[in-house]
């Protein structure tokens, strides 16, 4: 079994491995006790995603919309639940961020995943988030 990634080692690998396709993807490491990687997807309208590794898991998250941007919360929640099973590789979720409810699209991977799988997750998550934002246009203000 290969050794699991940490947030730092994954960031270094993504930056130094020339074989990975990260065109239009800007990465920056925010250090600290719980380090995270900021990902800016320039080809996806500068979408700001975040990635963190903890133990056995890699968590990649992308902000879909604020609850305050939703017309009818109940209808939107149902639409999210219905979309979730057909959304490949990504999940929809709700989180409280700084006192404000934020709908997110997120993916989880094993921290022993090979680098190309992580890169694929980053691209898939950005695609899925933008597509979800488009699909939910009627629900949003």
């Amino acid at each position: 079994m290969n050794t699991p990634w940490t947030t730092e080692s994954l960031y270094e690998a993504l930056r130094s491995d020339k074989s990975v396709d990260l065109d239009g993807v800007e990465l920056s490491l925010i250090g600290g006790v719980d380090a995270i990687v900021n990902i800016t997807m320039h080809d996806h309208g500068d979408l700001a995603m975040h990635m963190a590794v903890s133990g056995e898991q890699i968590f990649v998250s992308s902000p879909l919309c604020l609850a305050t941007q939703v017309k009818d919360r109940a209808a939107f929640n149902e639409a999210c639940l219905r979309l979730n099973p057909v959304n490949p590789l990504s999940n929809l979720g709700l989180q409280n961020v700084g006192g404000e409810d934020l709908y997110i699209v997120f993916g989880e991977l094993s921290s022993r995943s090979p680098l190309p799988a992580v890169v694929e997750e980053i691209h898939a998550l950005a695609d899925n988030t933008i597509q979800a934002a488009e699909a939910f246009a009627d629900h949003l203000k």
């Binding site: 995270i36 900021n38 997807m41 903890s54 919309c65 933008i130 934002a133």
Partner: protein, 251 residues
């Protein structure tokens, strides 16, 4: 799973509170407690398992001793009967009867030990699974928390500026805007290309018609040498259009 119920109850309770840090701290505390409980249960069942396996070994040793005795006494009986000492054979047979009863009892006890061992091993495996799953859950909560904190920090940065946290909606807007810009650029480029194309076409036709200077051809150069080098432009009204390229090469 009971753990899910606990966490969901926590979220429900905290929905009235402002922050989420409370929820996360509680969730972590519960998960940590669950892992500790499961680990203790695992240690306990491993201890029990070790004790029972030791007891089984002792019982099995006893059984083997009895079986050796059984073989030994059987030989004695055969030997005594061969020498026609029936009384002695009878005496040994009485002892053998006790030994055989003991063997049956020991065998039953060992069977019970084996059952207990199987049960303990299966519960240890279950505890291990529970611990692995709980640890995964803790990892998820921790990773989610780090990301959530980072997003909260970003939101705080925006809070002062009056701008809201950037989401996919802003990105989508940006993508659409960039597409519109790109489309506009393409349109302008196309118009430009078309305009220069039209221009070039006109120039070409003018040159062909001999109205504007075209490319020097061998023919036009020869014509220049052969003609009596008129001082003025050929404005005598003679139509020269039948000889393209010649007319205006005189200046």
């Amino acid at each position: 799973m009971a753990i899910w119920t606990k966490i969901i109850t926590l979220f429900r309770g905290a929905a009235h509170e402002a922050g989420t840090a409370v929820v996360d701290a509680n969730a972590m505390r519960i998960l940590d407690q669950e892992v500790r409980d499961a680990q203790n249960a695992l240690l306990r069942s491993r201890d029990d398992l070790a004790k029972i396996m030791a007891q089984r070994k002792i019982a099995n040793d006893k059984l083997n001793d009895k079986k050796a005795k059984q073989a030994e006494y059987s030989n004695y009986i055969r030997e005594a009967l061969a020498r026609d000492n029936r009384a002695l054979a009878q005496e040994v047979a009485t002892k053998l009867a006790t030994i055989e009863a003991d063997i049956a009892t020991e065998g039953k006890i060992i069977g019970e030990f084996d059952n207990s061992i199987a049960k303990l091993q299966s519960s240890a495996r279950q505890a291990e699974t529970v611990i692995t799953r709980l640890k995964q859950q803790i990892d998820t909560v921790k990773a989610t928390e780090s990301v959530q904190r980072a997003q909260a920090a970003l939101a705080a940065q925006h809070a002062g500026t009056g701008a809201k946290l950037g989401t996919a909606l802003d990105s989508l807007e940006r993508i659409k805007q960039r597409q519109t810009e790109r489309a506009a650029q393409l349109e302008v480029a196309e118009e430009l290309a078309q305009a220069t194309g039209e221009d070039a076409d006109l120039q070409r036709r003018l040159a062909q018609a001999g109205i504007v200077p075209g490319e020097s051809s061998a023919e036009s150069i020869l014509a220049r040498f052969e003609s009596p080098a008129p001082k003025a432009l050929n404005h005598d009204g003679t139509p020269q259009l039948s000889q393209p390229g010649v007319a205006s090469k005189t200046s």
